[in-house]
């Protein structure tokens, strides 16, 4: 397939990027917060994943909460740190939606924090689905 520079530029401009559909503002929670508090935030504010303020690429997702229920964890005694997902992949605001979709499928995850020097938002599979359907 052959593209002139002008054509390629137009194609890029037409396509949706992370910055257009990501969830903002960034929603965070402390690693020492009880799981109950995290669940309250997620439920009341309709958030499917929180960035944990450890500075180490950790997030708390709905799947982590499911795991805590499966283990019979006490939501008051269990902290975010006990159940969070560590070392998550991240994306940048200029990435194409198709590329993010491919990353989520490849890694089997529903959430990718958006990083532009610092954490700026969250991309979820729900954000992608809402855009394409």
């Amino acid at each position: 397939m052959k593209h002139g520079n002008t054509q390629r530029g137009m194609d890029l401009d037409d396509r949706t990027r992370v910055a257009d559909v990501m969830s903002t503002p960034l929603e965070t929670i402390g690693a020492d917060a009880p799981l109950r508090e995290a669940a309250r935030r997620m439920r009341d504010e309709n958030i499917s994943a929180l960035v944990v303020t450890t500075g180490g690429g950790c997030i708390l997702t709905q799947s982590d909460v499911v795991g805590a229920v499966a283990d019979g964890s006490d939501p008051e005694a269990t902290t975010v740190r006990d159940v969070m997902t560590e070392d998550v992949e991240t994306v940048t605001p200029d990435l194409m939606l198709e590329e993010v979709a491919a990353m989520m499928t490849m890694y089997g995850v529903k959430h990718l924090p958006v990083v532009d020097d610092d954490y700026v938002g969250m991309m979820s599979s729900t954000d992608i689905a809402a855009h394409i359907s």
Partner: protein, 128 residues
């Protein structure tokens, strides 16, 4: 891609559970399946409700997961279903209203598949 029928992208590997099952058992089943939803069935196999990861968040917010809360006490009964011939375009309205999992049912209200935001994401990545 909006005229693509639902049965091209739905998951058919369904995870089901009975309405009287305990919350912790349902959570374990969801974790093992690697998915984020369970179909709750009546004894005759008809769809009674849906459990999503969001429902477990609500459980942790309000109850002690260690108690024997049965699935039917916290499942979603406000379920939007679609038919296999429906198109991706027809998923737009329920998706916009926050429905992340749409069971695909046959004429007898029996589940034959599920379309989730994960399925839509996978479809977009294949198309891309």
């Amino acid at each position: 891609m909006n005229d693509v029928p639902v049965d091209r992208l739905m998951s058919t590997d369904l995870t089901t559970i009975e309405r009287g099952a305990a919350a912790a058992d349902a959570a374990e089943q969801m974790r093992e399946s690697g998915g984020s939803s369970l179909l709750v069935l009546d004894s005759d196999g008809a769809l009674a409700g849906l459990i999503t990861a969001t429902d477990f968040v609500a459980l942790v917010r309000d109850n002690d997961p260690k108690d024997r809360t049965p699935v039917e006490a916290f499942m979603t009964t406000d379920v939007v279903t679609v038919g296999r011939e429906d198109t991706v375009a027809e998923l737009a309205e329920p998706t916009a209203h926050g429905y992340t999992h749409l069971p695909v049912t046959d004429g007898d209200d029996r589940p034959i598949g599920m379309v989730s935001t994960t399925d839509l994401t996978a479809y977009l990545s294949r198309r891309g």
